[in-house]
């Protein structure tokens, strides 16, 4: 269907553009805003791909919580812009060349191996629903799920310890 293609390309353009915006913006705040746009676009892709729960999580966690945290830190430090010059000037052209090679390679991979990918078929209505994901999380992936919770706790404690001031000790 044409509308699919239109939406896809439209969103793809937004995603890539915002990505490039991130890459090029001098100001960290702009970079962050670009990234939010990017995340939102990707979230819509998730919706299309029958992953409503993930999409919402993407908006809430990434575009919401994480990016707010970024912005918060940027403003807290007042480090939107960087002065000085780069010590690794030679790296930039090299990186661009390598990036292009990577894209070419990836595209080649999919051209060569596209036969291995199954054609898309319709899925049932509850595919990717929060219920389905929850069921999977609390049965097959129970242990990893618990481990993740410990990891988050550890990260939280780690963040607190790292940002504590020296003189607050003892």
């Amino acid at each position: 269907m044409l509308i699919d293609w239109i939406i896809f390309f439209g969103l793809a353009v937004v995603a890539i553009a915002s990505g490039i915006g991130l890459l090029l913006s001098k100001n960290a705040i702009y970079a962050a805003l670009n990234l939010i746009a990017n995340f939102t676009a990707v979230a819509i892709f998730y919706l299309i791909l029958a992953a409503p729960f993930i999409a919402l999580a993407q908006i809430a966690v990434y575009a919401g919580a994480i990016m707010v945290l970024f912005l918060f830190v940027i403003m807290l430090l007042g480090a939107e812009r960087l002065g000085g010059t780069s010590t690794l000037r030679w790296q930039r052209p090299l990186a661009i060349v390598l990036g292009l090679i990577l894209i070419v390679e990836t595209v080649l991979v999919f051209i060569n191996r596209s036969g291995a990918i199954a054609p898309i078929v319709e899925v049932t209505a509850d595919f990717g629903s929060p219920a389905a994901i929850g069921e999977s999380l609390f049965s097959t992936y129970l242990l990893p799920f618990e481990v993740i919770s410990v990891l988050l706790l550890a990260a939280m404690i780690g963040a607190i310890v790292l940002t504590r001031r020296r003189d607050q000790k003892a």
């Binding site: 390598l98 990577l102 080649l108």
Partner: protein
Amino acid sequence: MFFEEAVSSGPQFFNLVPWIVFFPVIGLLFNIFFGGRILERSRAGEKIVGGVASLAAGLSFLVSVLLAISLNGHPEGMVVPLADWINIGELNIRWAFQVDTLSVTMMLVVSGVGTLIHIYAIGYMHEDVRHNGDPGRFRRFFVFMNLFIAAMMILVSGDNYMMLFVGWEGVGLCSYLLIGFWYEKGKDGIGNALAAKKAMVTNRIGDFGFLLAAFTIFWTFGTFKFHAIFEKAPEVAVANPGALLFITICLLIGVTGKSAQLPLYVWLPDAMAGPTPVSALIHAATMVTAGVYLVARSAEIYVLVPTAQFWVTLVGSVTALFAATIAVGQFDIKKVLAYSTISQLGFMVAAVGMGAFVAGMFHLVTHAFFKALLFLSSGSVIQGLERGHHHVEHDPKLKKQLKGHAHDFDPQDMRNMGGLRERMKITYWVYLIGAIALAGIPPLAGFWSKDEILADASKEFSWAYTLLTLAAIFTAFYMTRQILMVFFGKARTPAAEHAEESPLVVTAPLMILAVLSFFGGLINLPFDGFHQFAHWLEHTLGEYAHPGEFILVVALLSTGLALVSLALGWWLYNPRRYEEFWAIPAARRPDDPLRSYIGPIYEALKNKYWVDELYWAVFLNPYIDLSRFLADVIDWRFWHDWFHDRVIMGGYNLLTRLLAIRIDLGGIDAAANGLAVLTQRVAERLRQVQTGYVRNYALSIFVGVVIILGYLLLR
């Protein structure tokens, strides 16, 4: 008809028997938990604490009497099981009480004499704890005494060898605790503790024999129960005589330990370090007779093994004479009695060895009376002397007379006594009764029991008869010597001069015991119709409890010899002669009149034939040396320091050094060094790669990704 009558012919209290143990245990628990507070709070505290302990022993006696009454109607007795103890496979040891005439006899003696001694101790310990400067220990004494009664009751009432052994060890423990009661006193402050240890260890050697006997009993008979064993014994005697011989000889080792026979008697004289009531109860009247009880109890095994009987008789009679001779050379009032005890125990052991079980048990009973009496009276004498000494020390006028030797005054040395007859009248009279009973002068108790042993010996064991008669002669002699030195003549020290008689609580038990010592023989006169004790024991010992005969020749001879010996004693130690002897200046005076006549022999007697020294030289010192040698040289210097630290560790060090210097440094190291240098140089270059910039590292990862992906594509 007749049977029914027998069953209903009297009250039955057999099921009360556990209380003979429980009462003393309750008493000691009471004193452990409340005694201390009572002593602190109440003026009459000592009377309460001692009273409770005496009451506990007394109730135990009451139960024993009830049991005896029951036995009158039901002479076959009863086994009263209480609890299981150890059960493994066929091994089944239980705590059960054997109530029969033999055990009840022992119960009566133990609790009866025990109660009297408890009462006596209330008065005695009152002074003793003050004299030794620790009144708080009053309670501990009665706790231990009650514990002893309980253990002794377990010993005599068990229905199997293991319960007997439990009591056997229990009384040993009490003996240890009570000998070492004043553990900070004695020679060099440690003498009493050493005496206690000696008693325990020597007894352990005896217990070793007992244990081996127990093992053999179990693996031969499959049980420890007396009745089951005795039933099977005749079969085993045919099938496996070696086992029975081994059992009986090993039990004899146990007997020599507990009943202070040769060669393990050495602990008993030292045991006099304990307070005098202890010496009376444990080391004269009851505990030391446990060995005699053991042989009597095992009568049905012993009669099957003549060899063992021979050895028991030999040990007993030799000990009787041996100890009696040593008693002649002692100056300590309690030591004399101690050796006398050993000697009298020898009589009993010899008797039960000969198969004269009734005579042995009879002597056990009478001996319990008169020897307890003698010890308690000696305690009265000692405290009388201490009171005198105290009096002198606190009277400035008299104190001057004491001069230098005030501190090392020994209230037990008979040479410090003399003339106490006047100052301690009751003590004198009861002591005299005890001494005459011991010397075997008719019609006192000692005469009848001793005579029965001699009469039995004269029939088959003439050599034993000879030894025992000689021992009896010495007995009369040393008792005469003691009486004369203690009570007659003039006081030889100010302390003796001011000695005071003991209070009623001390003298009352003495008088009761004196009566018993006087009339105790009545329970088993050797005339037809008077053999009550023999008939009593017949219910337990059966055919082996033959009533004693009265052999006029034997009786006349022993009495005559005793009188001769008494006269000899009088001749040597009569007051006039002894005062003359005492008047000789100390430097030239021999320590005893007897020395002038038998010189070196007397030295040997006085030094107890140097047996202690011999044991030290032959067993103890070598063992100490051996253990030091093992510990220092073998275990530490050789095995620990040399072998492990030097040989193994040093050897390993040497090996590593060899490897390190020769092989490693010479060969491998050179190569390795070269390699190291190379590595270092390469590293010098390579480290420049480590720029420390995150982006650099990221770049290299990225390059890697691109390359790997490219490889996958081109593959």
